[in-house]
């Protein structure tokens, strides 16, 4: 049977003691609108898009389990880098929307993007009155880019190998 507890007041009095002690200790409440608790750097708050890196390869839209990334792009001709070279065709984004009403923050798109165009930012205060406004378009996702923190150093013993 359980170990003999050290002789203490019977449970009923002990319980009163616990609540009294807690009453004297301070509270742990963070009064949100006035004080703010900032999330850790790796928190997955919102996805930021770096438009220059995106080559409209559609991988993120295809891998997303919730089908909440909508991409439209077009192709353009670009002058060749070295003179005399062939003209370059570059694909540019017309529309890159993430519907945060559907998104489940799993992070597959950020990981699967071969060109590191998508980043995580711990920002979490983007609630909207209308659910339609949760569809963030290209500019909004670009705005989140500044809030993306530097990846923090890894724990001792971690092999800082692939990214």
């Amino acid at each position: 049977m359980p170990k003999l507890p050290k002789p203490k007041a019977p449970g009923l009095i002990g319980g009163l003691g616990v609540t009294f002690k807690t009453m004297l200790k301070g509270s742990v409440t963070v009064q949100y609108p006035h004080e703010r608790e900032d999330p850790p750097t790796r928190a997955r708050g919102v996805i930021a898009l770096k438009e220059e890196n995106c080559t409209v390869c559609m991988l993120c839209a295809r891998q997303c389990p919730d089908w909440c990334i909508y991409i439209e792009g077009h192709k353009e001709k670009r002058p060749p880098r070295r003179e005399g070279g062939r003209e370059r065709t570059v694909s540019l984004l017309d529309r890159f929307d993430i519907d945060y009403a559907l998104c489940m923050y799993c992070g597959i798109c950020v990981e699967v993007c071969p060109f590191d165009a998508l980043f995580w930012s711990p920002e979490y205060e983007y609630s909207e009155a209308k659910i339609a406004d949760l569809l963030h378009d290209k500019e909004k996702l670009g705005e989140w880019m500044e809030t993306v923190p530097e990846p923090e150093p890894l724990e001792v013993g971690a092999e800082s190998g692939k990214k």
Partner: protein, 342 residues
């Protein structure tokens, strides 16, 4: 009692009723705010309301009151309309009636009955009728179950309440509350009358018994089976909304205030301060002293309410009949023996 200005009998009665009518909601708000909101919060390492009213959310319960008043009070379709409407009033009336006899000063008492204590306890059991009416009239299974449980519990705990008070009456020799307060003021403990003889010393068992029985009368944890939110959602109050629910809320905390005041008067010497006897001062200081003692007793009651789980229905009854009543009888025996010996 001579007043500076010559005032007719009617006006005094009007003033008294207004004062008593004001005390109940005010008392409910004071108790509710300090204990239910702030103390419970700090016991659970939270802050409780901070925003309403600026400093520490004092306006919270006033705001709640206004909210309840402007809310639409709904009557369920199959409910028995008239009884549904009267039930909360019956519950609150029993609280008002108790305050008629509680003295706050040598002259500050609505009517100083000679059988004050007997009257107070008789009236406080009126609430049972109101609860049963509410439970039956709401035509809701949960309410019915809650009301039946409440009925059984309140009746079961009337007896220990009475026995606890009988001990005090035996020691004080009178049933009128003023008399009990005087007995405690000028009594002496084995000759030394430094702080009079508050009956809590002689009647420590009686005091504990009274608190436990009062806790059950108020259907507070560990005896809050009728309003057990995890099973019956809200017991007999489940169908009530708007103003009628406000009545129940005031009734609950008003009765808590009434029982705390009764306990303070019977066991802690009521409004009296040991050596201050001249009526002028006592009339002024009396209410303040009574309020502090009430807060002390209420602290004990709410402290237990926020810490303990709830007893099951049959265990509850077993505690009342098999445990509290025998202790009550033994307590009266001791009180009698002490009375005879000294």
């Amino acid at each position: 009692m001579e007043l500076a200005v010559d005032v007719g009998w009617g006006t005094i009665l009007a003033i008294k009723t207004i004062v008593v009518l004001a005390i109940i909601p005010l008392g409910a708000i004071i108790l509710g705010y300090t204990f239910l909101l702030k103390m419970m919060a700090h016991m659970q390492s939270r802050l409780g309301p901070m925003d309403p009213g600026g400093f520490h959310g004092w306006f919270q319960l006033f705001g709640d009151g206004i909210k309840f008043i402007q809310k639409e009070d709904v009557m369920p379709a199959e409910s028995d309309r008239r009884i549904f409407a009267i039930a909360p009033a019956v519950v609150v009336i029993s609280t008002f009636l108790v305050f008629l006899v509680i003295p706050a000063g040598p002259d500050l008492v609505v009517s100083n009955l000679d059988v004050g204590v007997f009257y107070a306890l008789a009236v406080s059991s009126l609430a049972v009728v109101g609860v049963l009416m509410a439970g039956w009239a709401s035509a809701n299974k949960f309410a019915l179950l809650g009301a039946l449980r409440a009925g059984a519990q309140l009746i079961a705990y009337e007896l220990p309440l009475l026995l606890a008070v009988v001990g005090v009456v035996v020691m004080a020799g009178t049933m009128s509350l003023q008399g009990i307060v005087e007995a405690q003021q000028n009594g002496a403990i084995f000759g030394w009358d430094g702080i009079g003889n508050p009956f809590i010393f002689g009647q420590i068992i009686g005091f504990a018994l009274f608190l436990v029985a009062a806790q059950a009368e108020l259907t507070q944890t560990p005896f809050d089976m009728p309003v057990a939110e995890s099973e019956l959602v809200a017991g007999y109050m489940v169908e009530y909304t708007g103003f009628r629910f406000l009545f129940f809320f005031i009734g609950e905390f008003g009765t808590a205030f009434a029982f705390a005041a009764l306990a303070a008067t019977l066991f802690l010497g009521g409004w009296a301060i040991p050596h201050v006897t001249d009526p002028g001062w006592s009339n002024v200081l009396g209410p303040i002293v009574l309020l502090t003692k009430v807060m002390l007793v209420a602290f004990l009651m709410f402290w237990v309410r926020f810490t303990y789980p709830r007893l099951r229905e049959d265990q509850l009854q077993a505690v009342a009949w098999k445990f509290l009543i025998p202790i009550g009888l033994v307590n009266i025996l001791i009180a009698g023996a002490l009375k005879v010996a000294f």
